[in-house]
């Protein structure tokens, strides 16, 4: 057994799979464009301009990736325990409402304190909402995929009901406006980017990312969570309380999602309105986590990719008439190719062999 130098192949595979998936996803989108009678070259030029074209576009890209970092982290963290938290969407929505209410109440508090309270409220709401499937799974073995999917719809109806009946102001079906003391707008940056809605939420998201990575890899809690996720039988054998960890992982996951919801209200919308549909960022979080290989730093990359595609698509539609929905095709393609990782790996290997 002769030792060789540390492997660069693993790194190549980690980065190589998403990279190839992105290319393949764009190819699929191009085919769809041609098929619908548009020019892919023009379409993608518009897309690119919509992402990096000017400071406004780039600001909006940051804005739209921000909530995806939270939801991506939430999905990834739960996944490390072997839980598939499809309920990030609902936890996010509950977090939005809690953030909106606390953000509107208590005006006049010092900014930092008010912001922390409002985000904390969002986290708490998300955690409570996630506790339901967590306990059902931990205590009774009810599969979390079923419960979290169902709770997503419950959350939408619940939040709308609460706003309509208890929290609306005047004739509008929305909560009161968030007080200036809880506003996350970065005024200077807003001017700099020609009115893009970049806000402090992105920095808070990065803090969350580092915190989640720290918990996972540097703490006993993270050790337990990962052990349970990889092999619950061995975790149990080692004296780790599997049930406790399942519930705890769900709570943390829900808290991150809920915090993301609050941040979105404080930074972008300024209040929470009744909505006929779920915002969708929770669902996108699943794909973001997938692309990021459930790694916190991978999530950042995945969120950027998704945020960029979504913002760029608006510009693309505006400039080139290529419909926004095409980007959904691209995204679906990317997710598909990442999910069928084995297939992509196989393609990579074929390429190596030819080389």
């Amino acid at each position: 057994m002769v030792s060789l130098k540390p492997n660069s192949r693993k790194i190549l595979e980690l980065a190589g799979v998403p990279a190839l998936a992105i290319v393949l996803g764009l190819v699929v989108g191009a085919i769809a464009m041609v098929w619908m009678g548009y020019s892919p070259v023009q379409g993608y030029r518009g897309l690119f301009a919509g992402i990096f074209g000017d400071s406004f576009s780039f600001g909006e890209t940051i804005r739209s990736m921000t909530p995806l970092i939270y939801t991506g982290l939430a999905v990834a963290f739960a996944f490390k325990t072997g839980l598939f938290n499809i309920g990030v969407e609902g936890q996010f929505v509950l977090g939005m409402l809690a953030g909106a209410l606390v953000g509107a109440a208590l005006p006049g508090l010092p900014w930092l304190i008010h912001v922390m309270l409002a985000i904390g409220a969002g986290a708490l709401a998300g955690a409570c909402w996630a506790a339901i499937p967590g306990l059902l799974k931990g205590k009774f073995g009810v599969h979390e995929v079923i419960t979290t999917i169902m709770l997503n719809y419950v959350s939408l109806i619940l939040v709308n009901f609460l706003i309509r009946n208890y929290f609306r102001v005047t004739a509008q079906e929305a909560t009161a406006n968030v007080a200036p003391s809880a506003d996350l707008t970065i005024v200077a940056l807003k001017h700099l980017t020609g009115g893009a809605r970049v806000h402090w939420g992105i920095l808070i998201a990065l803090l969350f990312m580092v915190a989640i990575a720290f918990i996972l890899y540097r703490t006993t809690l993270g050790y337990e969570v990962r052990a349970v996720g990889f092999n619950p039988m061995a975790a149990q054998y080692g004296g780790i309380n599997v049930t406790k960890n399942i519930v705890l992982a769900m709570l943390i996951s829900g808290a991150v999602a809920g915090a993301g919801g609050a941040v979105e209200i404080l930074g972008v919308f300024g209040r929470m309105a009744v909505s006929p549909v779920l915002p969708g960022v929770g669902f996108d979080g699943i794909a973001v986590a997938l692309i990021g290989n459930n790694n916190p730093f991978g999530v950042l990359f995945g969120a950027f990719l998704f945020g960029a595609l979504k913002t760029g698509a608006i510009q693309m539609q505006y400039q080139t008439q290529v419909p926004y929905a095409i980007i959904r095709v691209v995204i679906a393609g990317i997710v598909f190719f990442v999910a069928t990782k084995e297939m992509v790996r196989w393609l990579l290997r074929l390429k190596r062999r030819e080389a």
Binding site: T219, Y223, Y237, G239
Partner: protein
Amino acid sequence: MEPVIEMRSISKVFPRVVANDKINISVAPGEIHALLGENGAGKSTLMNVLYGLYQPTEGDIYIHGKKAEITNPNAAIAMGIGMVHQHFMLIPPMTVAENIVLGHEPRKFGFLDLSRAVERVEEISRRYGLQVDPRAKVENISVGMQQRTEILKALYRGAEILILDEPTAVLTPQEITELFEIMRNLIKEGKSIIFITHKLKEIMAVSDRVTVIRRGRVVDTVRTRDTNPQDLAAKMVGRQVSLQINKQIGVPGEKIMELIDLYALSNRKLPALRGVSLEIRRGEIVGLAGVDGNGQSELVEVIAGLRKAQSGKVMMLGRDITNYTPRKVISCGISHIPEDRQARGLVLDFNIEENMILETYYQDGFANGLILNHKQIEQHARRLIREFDIRPTDEKAFARSLSGGNQQKVIIAREVDGDPELLIAAQPTRGLDVGAIEFVHKRIVGQRDRGKAVLLVSLDLDEIMALSDRIAVIYEGRIVGAVSASEATEEMLGLMMAGAAG
């Protein structure tokens, strides 16, 4: 005669290890060819190359003299190669029959014809004398039956060349004799077998030729009748190995553990323990003998807190610890080498250092409050890797990438290192090479000599007889007798294991 298989100058390089280094090996028709080598020598890797699971870094494979491109297991199966892996590759929630026919299912109107599958399985299982329950789910059957299922799976696919990677490690002596019978029958039908084992006795008993591998290279290929166990052991390890256990007569002291009338259910909710009573003293190794599936696994799990006792008591140093959580059991000074290293003993996706702290990660030294102390964890692993000769010596290597024997060594290092009051060792040397077995046996006897207690559960009667001070026999969930090891004979234990009162 033209060889059925010829592997020429095969090398396989993993990112950090050269597992096979220009290996030449050939198998004649109708031959049982044994592969012998230390843990991590590269035996499984070489066989995985032959079975199409790995592509060799260099070298060619010839089957019946023709160069073969074995790019995947299906290609191997099509060429008549069947493999029974060292670690089972069964799907736990599916039945035995479903697992066996998987990929080659009998169909009716395009759908799986389950009753035919069961029939076919019963038919071949009768023909080769390998007993399984075709309708049982794999997750509910014993390790021994899982192994038999694996063998049937290969036979079902019409293997002409059968690779058996440590098939006997999990079988009872009786089953091993039966397996040898089957192997000899297969040879008579002109099939060829590559047989991996660490047990020299088995090699002497059944093989025609032996190839010895050390650190990825072929040391020698010899005819079995021209060699002997001492010789083989020396070739393989590169030094003389003591095949005998040297131990003084033990001096049992106070009672450490007492089991009183324990009852418990199996995974299938059938009675598994039906009134087990047993005591273990300081300075004593108690061997628990029995045919696989008579309640050994359940007994160990009940003591370890991994399975609920319905009634009865587990007393540790006078304290009632029945149905304690695993963590509390561990903190009472009980350590446990589990019988199934991959299902229970290791987190395969953790690296060695993470696996070394599976029970202790939260304790002072490894963690300051909630924060893990990576430096300590790393040093701890390095020390154990050195002390227990785990290869490769890289504490960041994933458990999954280790050879079977080295995975076992990681567990043993972890469990013995805490110097437990009571060490429960279930099949502790399963899959270890003779050198490593010698080492583990020394450690187990060492525990005893330091006044600690050991409960040794093993299907290997030789091991039980060689190590134990007292031997208890379990049959259908009861201890049917306990004898002092000096008085025990193989015949007597055999009778007791078959249910005749001792």
